[in-house]
């Protein structure tokens, strides 16, 4: 690792979400524009397209709505990823669609984000989709929420409107248990309070949106975690001519949680055998210790039969093996979930066949009430119980996203049909 010349605050992943047309794509366009990320030729291309469509000003949403179908309809269908950097921090933005029909794409965008910006149209206040996306963001475990009350230019930049919507939202947030939430008034169109403060919102004394982003914690978690290392691949060079490599067995993977150092006592699951960490490497080069999200190779002091799908943990923090899981599931396929079918669950690097044992309840995302359900249709959120053919080594999703999450695969089409978060 080289030491960065400038202070490197790492990388922050966030998404924009909220109701249809409340200005998510425009906000991102504005962020990119005002941080000078948009280069001249891109700008002239979207200027041309805006003119062709008879729009008075440049439509910044064209920066993220990259598909033909999206540009034609002026809506976002699938997530777009955009990037910008402030010199101290790199940002990965996911622009989520607001339409209810594309809720699954919003969940996709949320799954990798550490922060969510929820937009509200100042003229409309808190809408069903605002509540739905807020609830989904909370379910997916996004630790930080910023509620951006947008289109303030169409609400006379009124502080009263802002305070009223803020109050409305806080009331809702308390009900669903959303804690860390901050508010900001914006005009994405004019650029007020995004990078520059502008002249219209002088009553607002808080930080600009970019200032909020710059100080938001980038770490994927802020509490200490148990070490979890799913084995992705086993390296066995079997080079008999080279004595160093003759017996080399490297367990390759990415640390989903926690830290590890040479000498730590570890247990390999599912066989439960124990050993100590003999070496940690990246690309065959030794490092003394490693932290969450690093992709490394672990060498053990003892020869233990280990392959893809196994998990290495610290011997003092062994997770339970479970053959039944309760989880919150978001169904993502056109065809409803079929109670009689067997699905494949992919959890870390491990696959297991799974059968639905029960639908405990469905979440009515409009009323946020739990309702009984017989089947799951596309975009439904429900609490379900699965019976598994293979044991999984799982942690509750709220403790650890990496070892609490799974996807559901339809083995006949090979499609990903659902996403689950273990309770």
């Amino acid at each position: 690792m080289t030491t960065p010349q400038i202070e490197d605050h790492g990388l922050l992943r966030f998404l924009t979400c909220g109701s249809v047309d409340d200005g998510k794509s425009t906000l991102i366009g504005r962020l990119l524009f005002d941080t000078k990320t948009i280069l001249a030729d891109t700008l002239s291309a979207i200027t041309r397209t805006s003119e062709k469509r008879g729009m008075g000003a440049v439509d910044l949403s064209l920066l993220t709505d990259g598909l033909q179908a999206e540009r034609e309809q002026g809506i976002t269908i699938d997530v777009a990823y955009r990037y910008f950097s402030t010199g101290t921090r790199k940002y990965i933005i996911a622009d989520a669609p607001g339409h209810e029909q594309y809720t699954r794409n919003m969940v996709t965008a949320a799954s990798t984000a550490n922060l969510a910006i929820i937009l509200i149209d100042a003229r409309k206040g808190v809408l069903t989709q605002t509540r739905r996306h807020s609830k989904l963001a909370a379910l997916v475990g996004i630790p930080h929420l910023i509620v951006a009350i947008n289109k303030m230019d169409l609400a006379d930049y009124s502080q009263e409107t802002y305070e009223r919507i803020k109050g409305e939202y806080l009331e809702f947030a308390a009900k669903v248990g959303i804690e860390d939430v901050r508010f900001i008034p914006l005009s994405a169109l004019n650029g007020d309070m995004i990078v520059d403060r502008g002249d219209n919102l002088n009553w607002y004394e808080g930080p600009t949106l970019l200032e909020m982003l710059e100080v938001a914690p980038a770490a994927h978690t802020e509490h200490t975690e148990k070490f979890r290392f799913p084995v992705q691949y086993v390296c066995r060079p079997q080079d008999s001519a080279n004595p160093d490599l003759h017996d080399y067995r490297g367990f390759m993977g990415r640390i989903e949680a926690g830290t590890i150092k040479v000498g730590d006592a570890v247990t390999v699951l599912p066989n439960g055998l124990t050993s100590t960490v003999k070496a940690i490497q990246i690309g065959g080069v030794d490092i003394p210790e490693a932290i969450t999200e690093q992709s490394i190779t672990i060498l053990l002091a003892d020869e233990i039969d280990t392959s893809r799908g196994d998990m290495i943990v610290k011997s003092s923090e062994v997770p339970a093996a479970v053959k039944q899981i309760e989880a919150t599931v978001c169904w993502m396929a056109e065809a409803p979930m079929d109670r009689n079918r067997t699905y494949l669950i992919r959890h870390t690097t491990r696959d297991s066949k799974a059968k639905l044992a029960a639908i405990d309840h469905r979440l009515d995302v409009n009323t946020l009430e739990k309702v009984p359900a017989e089947k799951l249709a596309m975009n439904d959120i429900a609490q379900v119980t699965f019976k598994l053919a293979q044991p999984l080594f799982a942690d509750p999703y709220l403790e650890n996203r990496g070892t609490g999450a799974f996807i559901i695969i339809d083995e006949s089409s090979n499609n990903t049909v659902g996403a689950g978060m273990i309770l």
Binding site: D8, G10, L11, L39, A40, D41, A45, L63, G66, L67, Q68, A69, R71, D78, V79, Y81, R82, Y83, S85, K90, I92, R104, N105, V107, T108, S111, T112, A218, A219, Q232, Y233, C235, R236, P237, D244, L245, G250, M252, G253, R254, T259, I282, G283, G284, I291, T292, E293, Q294, S295, R308, M332, T348, G402, A405, F406, I407, I409, N415, T416, A419
Partner: protein
């Protein structure tokens, strides 16, 4: 705790890319890494070293050669593969032309988009179930929408309105026989990240990435290199009668097919100067250098739907 608890942005991007490559190796039975000798694919090779050394790569390298590549890049490609001791497969668009599967509209037509045909032929020939590529989401607006593990049907087609949901870092690389997964480990990298990584890792690059003097002409405002010698002994981009040939100091930001990659004027002759230039440029990588993406608002999306990388 006094240790760092978060990674620097380059370390994070590197770790993500390694994870993606290992998922391809772990999930697919016969993957291949597409390697052109260009800067993005050179980063891929370094990442593959970090992912799999001291073992060998669990996939061969493959280049789809249009026959219109810069000699410097082709030589560098071969040299790098040899240094790494990894197997390099080369399949050429010219062979597809001989077979009659690629038909050019006219002699001078860019062969870039025809790479798709040759790629699909090679996928079938070797039975590859996954191709690892160096495409980045910041390159182009359709790419910004593409999954990291992108599913292609039997005809190599991408269906942008019906992509597999891709959550967390749980990738689904499953496919039926004949179908194919394209995996993009550096999806989340920008041009700047690539140059910073090259600088940090001290990667070597083909010489044409650095400022050098070459004969060019100006065509419709674009810098067009002319009379470029090819490996075959022929000359690409012959200058046209009456054109004024200028010796200009330029460098390339991308090194695709000669007929559609233009250099930029520059005196950046080392990586740190290029990092600086990248930080202050006003034109995107493709905008400055690709003569093929500007034809229509959706040309990349269209090509990808037809099987392009």
């Amino acid at each position: 705790m006094n240790q760092r608890t978060t990674l620097t942005h380059l370390d994070w991007l590197e770790a993500e890319a390694i994870h993606i490559m290992r998922e391809v190796a772990g999930q697919c039975s016969n993957p291949v890494l597409l390697f052109s000798g260009g800067k993005d694919s050179l980063c891929l090779l370094r990442l593959a070293e970090k992912a799999f050394r001291p073992g060998k790569f669990p996939f061969p390298l493959m280049h789809i050669d249009t026959g219109h590549n810069y000699i410097e890049v082709v030589n560098f490609r071969d040299q790098r593969a040899a240094e790494l001791g990894e197997r390099l497969i080369v399949r050429s668009v010219e062979d597809s032309m001989k077979r009659g599967t690629v038909v050019l509209k006219h002699e001078g037509e860019s062969r870039n988009k025809h790479q798709s045909v040759t790629l699909l032929e090679a996928i079938e020939e070797f039975g590859f179930d996954a191709c690892i590529g160096g495409a980045r989401r910041d390159e182009e607006k359709a790419r910004a929408k593409e999954r990291i593990f992108s599913f292609r049907d039997e005809f190599g087609q991408w269906d942008p309105k019906n992509q597999r949901p891709e959550l967390w870092s749980l990738y689904n690389a499953r496919s039926h026989k004949g179908e194919n997964i394209r995996a993009f480990p550096i999806s989340n990298w920008t041009e700047m990240d690539v140059w910073q990584y090259i600088e940090r890792e001290g990667l070597e690059l083909p010489s044409i990435y650095f400022a050098h003097t070459r004969p060019i002409v100006m065509r419709q405002g674009a810098i067009v290199p002319v009379n470029v010698p090819l490996v075959s002994g022929e000359v690409a981009n012959p200058s046209r009668p009456g054109e004024e040939i200028i010796d200009l100091q330029v460098r390339f930001r991308t090194v695709g097919d000669i007929s559609c990659t233009a250099p930029v004027e520059s005196d950046a002759d080392n990586v740190s100067k290029i990092v600086l230039e990248t930080a202050t440029t006003t034109i995107t990588e493709r905008g400055a250098t690709r003569l093929d993406d500007q034809t229509s608002d959706a040309s990349m999306e269209q090509r990808k739907k037809e099987g392009y990388f």
